[in-house]
C-alpha cells in the first residue's frame, strides 16, 4: 500500500548542498557537547502538535464529536426546528417494523451480492488477459479504466437513464436481434439490474490493482507448476489465486464498502424517489429521504449508526478470517 517516489530525478541542487553541509556538521558536532535533551524533545512535541492542529480540530470537531452527537440523536426525535426529545430505543425499534427500511436493506444486499463478485470476476479476467504480454498495454489499461473514473457521476447516471428507457439504446440493440424490449429503468422487476450493470461497468480500479499484482507473481512458480504437470486451470487455482489473495482481500473489502454506500446513481435514475415501486431504494437513499426530506434526523442518525456497526463487523470478520485464505508471499 505504500507509494514510491515516482520520479528518480536527482535531488534538487540546494538539497545536495545541505547534505554536504550536514556531513561536515555531523563531523563537527561529534566533538561538540550534547544539547539539552529535554528542551529539544519538548520543542519537537510542540511542533508536532502544531503541525497536527488542523487535523486534530477536524478529528474532534468534524468526526468524533459529530459521531457521538449522532449517537445521542439516534435516541431522540429531532426535526432541526425544535430541540431533540429523548425517545430511548424507539428509533431502533421502529426500524424493525419499518417495511421501507427492511426493503432498503434487502435492495442494498442484493445489489452488493451481485456487484461485488461481478466486479471481481470481470476485473480479474481482464487483468489476466492484459497480463499476457500484450502490446500497447498502457493504452488498454487507461481505456478500460475510463468508466471507473466517470461511473459515479451524475452525467453517466443520466446517460444510463436514457439507455435503459423504453426508447433507449439498449432496446435498439435488442431490436437488432429481433428481441422485444421493455422500459428497463421504469420496471420494478429490472430497474435494480440496470444499476448493478452500471456498477460492474466501473471495474477499472480493481483491474489495475490486479494487473499490478499479477506482474509481481514470480514466473518460476508457473514454470514449476508446469513441470509438475499442472494445466492452465490448475495453475490458475494453485498459483494465481493464492498469490493474488492479498489483493482479492483488499478489493473485496473496498468494493463491498463502496456498494453498501452507493447513492448517486439510484438518486439520479429514480429522481430521488428510489422508485419504481422502491426497487432502487438503496440504504443511503432511504437514509437521505428520512433525514433530509422528512427531517427525521433521529431516525437517520440511527440508520447511520447501524451502517457503521455493520461495516465495522464486516471489516472485522474479513480481517479475522484473512489468515485462513489470504497468503502472503513469505509463508511459502
Amino acid at each position: 500500500m505504500s507509494v514510491e517516489r515516482q520520479d528518480r530525478t536527482p535531488l534538487p541542487a540546494k538539497a545536495a548542498q545541505h547534505v554536504q553541509v550536514a556531513r561536515e556538521d555531523v563531523a563537527r558536532q561529534e566533538k561538540a557537547p550534547p544539547r539539552v535533551r529535554m528542551s529539544r524533545k519538548t520543542r519537537e512535541a510542540l511542533a508536532g502538535y502544531a503541525f497536527l492542529s488542523p487535523w486534530l480540530v477536524g478529528l474532534v470537531g468534524l468526526t468524533l464529536g459529530p459521531m457521538i452527537y449522532s449517537l445521542y440523536l439516534s435516541f431522540t426525535r429531532y426535526n432541526l426546528l425544535s430541540p431533540p426529545q429523548w425517545r430511548g430505543l424507539d428509533n431502533y425499534r421502529a426500524m424493525l417494523h419499518d417495511p421501507r427500511f427492511l426493503h432498503s436493506v434487502g435492495v442494498t444486499l442484493r445489489y452488493a451480492i451481485v456487484v461485488v463478485p461481478g466486479i471481481l470476476v470481470v476485473s480479474l479476467a481482464l487483468a489476466m488477459v492484459l497480463n499476457l504480454g500484450i502490446r500497447f498495454l498502457p493504452f488498454y489499461r487507461a481505456a478500460f479504466y475510463l468508466p471507473s473514473l466517470v461511473g459515479a457521476s451524475v452525467a453517466v447516471s443520466l446517460l444510463w437513464r436514457q439507455m435503459f428507457s423504453s426508447e433507449g439504446v439498449f432496446n435498439a440493440a435488442l431490436a437488432v436481434f429481433g428481441i422485444q424490449g421493455r422500459t428497463w429503468i421504469g420496471d420494478p422487476q429490472t430497474a435494480l439490474y440496470t444499476l448493478m450493470l452500471l456498477s460492474i461497468w466501473t471495474f477499472g480500479a480493481p483491474m489495475i490493482i490486479f494487473l499490478a499484482g499479477l506482474r509481481q507473481v514470480p514466473k518460476e512458480l508457473y514454470e514449476a507448476a508446469e513441470v509438475d504437470g499442472a494445466g492452465a486451470v490448475r495453475r490458475f487455482f494453485s498459483v494465481t489465486l493464492p498469490m493474488l489473495s492479498p489483493l482479492i482481500f483488499f478489493n473485496v473489502l473496498l468494493t463491498t464498502v463502496n456498494a453498501l454506500q452507493a447513492f448517486t446513481p439510484a438518486y439520479v435514475v429514480s429522481n430521488g424517489t428510489g422508485g419504481p415501486a422502491d426497487s432502487t431504494l438503496f440504504y443511503t437513499l432511504y437514509l437521505y429521504q428520512r433525514g433530509f426530506t422528512r427531517l427525521d434526523m433521529g431516525y437517520a442518525a440511527a440508520m447511520a449508526w447501524v451502517l457503521v456497526v455493520v461495516l465495522a463487523i464486516f471489516t472485522a470478520v474479513m480481517f479475522a478470517t484473512a489468515r485462513f485464505w489470504v497468503h502472503y508471499g513469505d509463508e511459502r
Partner: protein, 300 residues
C-alpha cells in the same frame, strides 16, 4: 491451431505442459486475434460514453433511440441551448464547481501534508494512538457524519454557502490522503532534513523547503483525486446548496430532470459531456500518475 501441431511421440503426460515452440507466424496470428478481441471488448465498454458524445452533436430533429455513433447531421446547437436551458445557467455552475474544487484541492494539500509530516517525522506524546485514528477513519462511511455535520453546519448558519463543502478539507478530514502522504514521506531519505536541522532550519522550514518539494508526486496524486471527487460530488452540493445560483455542475445537470421531460436529450447530453470533460482531460494528461495512484493505493 491444434491440427498444425506435430503429434506428440513422447509420453504426452511428461511433455505436454511445456509449450512447444510455435512458429512465429502463428504467434503473430494469435497476437492480432487478441488485439481484435480486446478492441471489440473495449468498444463495448466505451460504447455508452461514445454514444453520449455523439448524441451531444446530434440535431434536434433526430431521435435518440438509435444505436449509431455517427450523426447524420452535426450541430453545436445542443451546447448553445444547454448552456442556458430554461432556468439552468451552466456558466454559473461551472464557475461554482471550479471555485469549490480549487479551494478543496488547496485545503487537502495543505492540511494533509502538515499532518503527514508530523506523523512521519516528529516525535510527540500519543503519536501511536492518534495515528490509529487516521487508520480507523480510513474505512469510516461518509454516512456516519452526514446527519450530525448537517446539524452542526445548520447551527453555524453555513447552509447555502460553500463552507460545509470546503472547510472540512482544511481540517484534513480525508484520512486517506493523510495516510498516503505519511507512507510517502517515510520513504524519503532523512539525511536532507538532518542537514537542514544542523543548519539551524526549524521544523516549518524543513517541511516547506525540503519535505514538500520532495513530496510532489504524492501531492499531485492528492490534488488529482481530490479534484475528481469534488468535481463529481453530488450529495454534498445537493444537501448544502439550495440556491440555484450556487449550484454546482452535478446539481445543475440533475436539474434537467426537474424542468423538462424527455425532449431535451440533446442539450442534456451536451452538458453531461461537458461536465465529465475536465475529468477525462486531466486523466489524459496525468494518466500515468493516476494509474500508479490506483495501483499502489487502491483509491477509486
Amino acid at each position: 491451431m491444434s491440427t498444425s501441431a506435430p503429434p506428440a511421440r513422447t509420453p504426452a503426460r511428461a511433455l505436454s505442459p511445456i509449450f512447444p515452440k510455435r512458429p512465429s507466424r502463428s504467434r503473430l496470428v494469435r497476437g492480432v486475434a487478441r488485439h481484435i478481441l480486446l478492441i471489440l471488448v473495449l468498444f463495448l465498454v466505451l460504447y455508452p460514453l461514445l454514444w453520449m458524445l455523439s448524441a451531444s452533436f446530434r440535431p434536434a430533429n433526430q431521435t435518440f433511440g438509435t444505436l449509431g455513433l455517427w450523426p447524420s447531421g452535426f450541430t453545436l446547437d445542443n451546447y448553445r441551448v444547454g448552456w442556458n436551458y430554461g432556468t439552468l445557467q451552466f456558466s454559473k455552475y461551472f464557475l461554482n464547481s471550479l471555485v469549490i474544487s480549487v479551494l478543496c484541492i488547496l485545503g487537502n494539500i495543505l492540511s494533509c501534508s502538515l499532518a503527514a509530516y508530523a506523523f512521519a517525522r516528529l516525535e510527540f506524546p500519543f503519536k501511536r494512538v492518534l495515528f490509529a485514528f487516521v487508520l480507523g477513519t480510513l474505512l469510516l462511511p461518509y454516512q456516519a457524519t452526514l446527519v450530525p455535520q448537517y446539524v452542526l453546519f445548520n447551527h453555524l448558519a453555513w447552509i447555502n454557502t460553500i463552507l460545509p463543502l470546503v472547510v472540512p478539507k482544511y481540517l484534513a478530514t480525508d484520512a486517506f490522503f493523510v495516510f498516503l502522504m505519511v507512507q510517502f514521506i517515510r520513504t524519503l531519505p532523512r539525511e536532507l532534513e538532518d542537514a537542514a536541522k544542523l543548519d539551524g532550519c526549524g521544523h516549518l522550514g524543513i517541511f516547506a523547503r525540503i519535505v514538500v518539494p520532495l513530496t510532489i508526486p504524492a501531492i499531485g496524486t492528492t490534488a488529482l483525486f481530490t479534484f475528481i471527487r469534488t468535481w463529481d460530488d453530488f450529495l454534498g452540493p445537493l444537501l448544502y446548496l439550495n440556491d440555484p445560483n450556487k449550484w454546482t455542475v452535478t446539481v445543475g445537470l440533475n436539474g434537467f430532470l426537474d424542468t423538462t421531460g424527455v425532449s431535451a436529450f440533446g442539450p442534456l447530453f451536451a452538458m453531461a459531456t461537458l461536465s465529465i470533460a475536465p475529468i477525462v482531460g486531466f486523466f489524459l494528461v496525468a494518466q500515468r500518475m493516476l494509474i500508479e495512484g490506483v495501483a499502489t493505493t487502491g483509491i477509486k
